[in-house]
């Protein structure tokens, strides 16, 4: 059963942590409710090879909407992606997990947890 949560916004300057435990092929849509930039993505895969698809889109459909970012993670592997200045998303941030490359429709990961740190803007 997926569990998704997002820290509350208090001010525009507050960073936000998006938590997606056991993310599936439906994922979390419009996780932040606004535009912003993300700086850190922590991907924890406790099972088979999987992909984290990230969309600058508030209502993406796996297999139809092209992801803006795709991060592969091998089985039982974990890594953190650091993005120096952050990368902006202009409409909304959505996350979907699957086991197929290229944002194709595919089975849900069986044990993929994700943490994404978001701020209001790119820090150049």
């Amino acid at each position: 059963m997926p569990t998704y949560s997002t820290s509350p916004f208090v001010t525009d300057l507050q960073s936000t942590l998006v938590v997606a435990d056991d993310i599936d092929e439906d994922g979390i849509t419009d996780a932040t409710g606004r535009a912003g930039a993300f700086f850190v993505v922590h991907i924890i895969n406790g099972s088979d090879d999987a992909y984290l698809n990230i969309y600058d889109n508030g209502n993406p459909t796996l297999g139809t909407t092209e992801p803006d970012w795709i991060f592969p993670v091998q089985e039982n592997n974990t890594y953190v992606v650091y993005i120096d200045s952050g990368v902006a998303f202009g409409s909304a941030l959505s996350l979907i997990g699957n086991q197929s490359a290229g944002g194709s429709a595919g089975a849900a990961p069986t044990n993929l947890d994700v943490r994404v740190m978001v701020s209001d803007t790119v820090r150049a």
């Binding site: 992909y51 600058d56 909407t65 092209e66 992801p67 803006d68 970012w69 795709i70 991060f71 592969p72 993670v73 091998q74 592997n77 974990t78 890594y79 953190v80 992606v81 650091y82 993005i83 120096d84 200045s85 990368v87 902006a88 197929s100 490359a101 290229g102 944002g103 194709s104 790119v122 150049a124």
Partner: protein, 135 residues
């Protein structure tokens, strides 16, 4: 180190088991124009990729395929394993703490559409630096 379309950049065996950093102009125009980082055929680990999209006024997407052999990627059809966005007029570095494992070879192209679709290259050259080890 500059490259050409459909080029193969071979990493000498003597350095294939160390961290290697090089610059490569990456682009795509047709279905099989990709650049292959040939560090052998047994895969490796990517630790960082810096994308320089300073010269373009459009967002670009660096796509990576973990597949061996020139001509095996059909851009717009073959699903990429890795997609990284770089906004127009910017330079973005992605650093992977434990590295991203890739199998076989690592092939790259830069397009103006994310995901699998899209065959349009940016107008101006995009440069990328890669930091990786070969297995």
């Amino acid at each position: 180190m500059a490259g050409a379309k459909d080029s193969v950049v071979t990493i000498p065996a003597a350095v294939a088991d160390t961290l290697v950093k090089f610059s490569q102009a990456v682009w795509d125009e047709d279905a099989d124009d990709t650049t292959t980082i040939d560090s052998g055929t047994s895969g490796g680990t990517l630790y960082a990729i810096e994308i320089d999209n300073s010269a373009n006024s459009v967002d670009v997407y660096l796509k990576g395929w973990f597949i061996a052999g020139v001509g095996t990627v059909n851009i717009g059809t073959t699903a990429p394993n890795l997609v990284l966005k770089c906004a127009s007029g910017t330079k973005t570095q992605y650093t992977f703490s434990n590295g991203v494992k890739y199998t076989l070879q690592f092939r790259v192209a830069v397009l103006t559409t994310g995901g699998t679709a899209g065959t349009t290259a940016p107008d101006s050259t995009v440069y990328a630096n890669f930091l990786f080890t070969a297995d």
